[in-house]
């Protein structure tokens, strides 16, 4: 095993293509992270100790709804399932009304609302498009839109224990379980 530190020279442009954890300067290739050197099909990369999470198609993510428009909800992502680490700023993800549930949805605000925390699957990396169609996807925490108290699940709807308000959501099967 060849272990390298950031700044170790590991080859030049003529020999390899620069992969993950590698940077090029004046034709030379250097390690940008510490780890094991891996060469595969002329691509040289460094396998680091810890990975800075990237979002890929198929990932399950956790995020907060920060805006609900006519046909789209904007989501600030905060975690990727399987990695106990904050995400770098990825820009906002988008949940389109057609991807909320399997059935037809007329009004987006009857499925997600401002400040809801949702669990979703990334269906397209470009533009960070999300879907909550699966059972375990959807809202896992919400606050009452009238009094801002936490809502509890009551069958298929959410109920506010403070003011009695009842609201509809596309609920995740994980709602209120404290994990995701």
């Amino acid at each position: 095993m060849k272990f390298v530190m950031p700044g170790d020279k590991i080859g030049c442009k003529e020999e390899f293509l620069a992969g993950e954890g590698i940077y090029e300067e004046n034709g030379d290739l250097f390690a940008a992270v510490a780890g094991k050197v891996v060469v595969k099909d002329k691509v040289i990369s460094v396998e680091p100790i810890k990975i800075i999470p990237e979002i890929e198609k198929g990932d399950v993510v956790l995020g907060r709804i920060i805006d609900v428009r006519n046909s789209i909800a904007l989501v600030e992502l905060s975690r990727k399932k399987g990695l106990d680490r904050d995400l770098k700023n990825m820009g906002l993800a988008a949940l389109h009304i057609s991807n909320v549930q399997n059935e037809y949805l007329k009004d987006l605000s009857s499925a997600v609302r401002y400040m809801d925390i949702i669990k979703a699957r990334v269906i397209e990396k470009e533009g960070l498009k999300l879907s909550t169609q699966e059972d375990e996807m959807g809202v896992i925490k919400a606050i009452c839109s009238i009094c801002k108290h936490e809502m509890f699940r009551d069958g298929d709807v959410l109920k506010c224990p403070n003011c009695g308000n009842v609201e509809k959501r596309k609920l995740s099967s994980d709602y209120g379980k404290g994990e995701w």
Binding site: G7, G21, A34, D86, K88, N89
Partner: protein, 252 residues
């Protein structure tokens, strides 16, 4: 240098023949102990002892920057906080940043900013927090060495390693990695940090100085600092390798 009074006094003999007060040669580092990845919550961390200095560094990020107006659309914002614990010095230090820590935080951050590949993480932030639990001379250099290891532990891409060490002038002699007495009673203190790349010292990332030295003495200081930095670099590398191997074993 202590904040209260940076005046020099000549009451203490610091050099005895070819040895120093603590028995070291002029070009000898203090004992250094480095351990990577010692904190659970942080994305990267490091424990470091350098002589009597005891410091802990933590790295968080890349992550969202709050408040949002502090974001930079083209690169990550780096924050560095050098903080001394109240019990870290002889006389209790008032908690919180004083002018000295603000300045140290600034120049240390700038040294790391020069090597972190921050353009890979636009609008994100990378936070580096270093706590001085026990301070002797050269705590800023100990902190930078720890921060550098913590950044590697966090997997933050960097052009190379930052390694830091000071040189002092004591009784007219240039000495590597001064301890408290040499710092207090010496004639000059010169903290350095270098970028190490391709296994050698490539450039200067941090340079400060106060005291009184000639140009020739400055040349000698560079020579000593570079020698010391290469030795520290080896220890930083060992600590990171050790972490990597233990992690690999854990994950099969």
């Amino acid at each position: 240098m202590s904040e209260s009074n940076e005046e020099k006094k000549d009451e203490i003999q610091l050099i005895f023949g070819d040895k120093r007060l603590d028995g070291r040669r002029f070009d000898e580092l203090r004992n250094i102990k480095i351990e990577a990845g010692i904190l659970k919550r942080a994305d990267g961390s490091c424990y470091l002892e350098m002589g009597k200095n005891i410091v802990v560094a933590a790295v968080y990020g890349p992550r969202e920057v709050h408040p949002r107006h502090l974001q930079n659309p083209s690169k990550a914002v780096i924050r560095y906080r050098y903080n001394m614990a109240p019990f870290s010095v002889e006389e209790r230090k008032r908690p919180g940043p004083d002018r000295r820590s603000v300045e140290i935080s600034k120049v240390s951050r700038e040294a790391l900013e020069a090597v972190i590949m921050k353009e890979l993480f636009p609008r994100s932030g990378i936070d580096i927090f270093v706590e001085v639990l026990q301070a002797d001379a050269g705590s800023r250099t100990a902190c930078l060495n720890a921060a550098s290891v913590a950044l590697v532990d966090a997997g933050v891409p960097m052009k190379g390693m930052i390694t830091s060490v000071a040189v002092a002038k004591a009784d007219g002699v240039m000495v590597l990695d001064p301890m408290k007495e040499e710092d207090n009673y010496g004639e000059a203190d010169i903290p350095f940090a270098f970028l190490i790349r391709g296994g050698k010292i490539e450039s200067i990332a941090l340079l400060q100085m106060d005291g009184r030295v000639t140009k020739d003495e400055l040349r000698e200081a560079f020579k000593l600092a570079k020698k010391g930095a290469m030795e520290i670099y080896k220890l930083q590398k060992e600590a990171i390798m050790k972490k990597y191997i233990s992690e690999s074993v854990e994950n099969g």
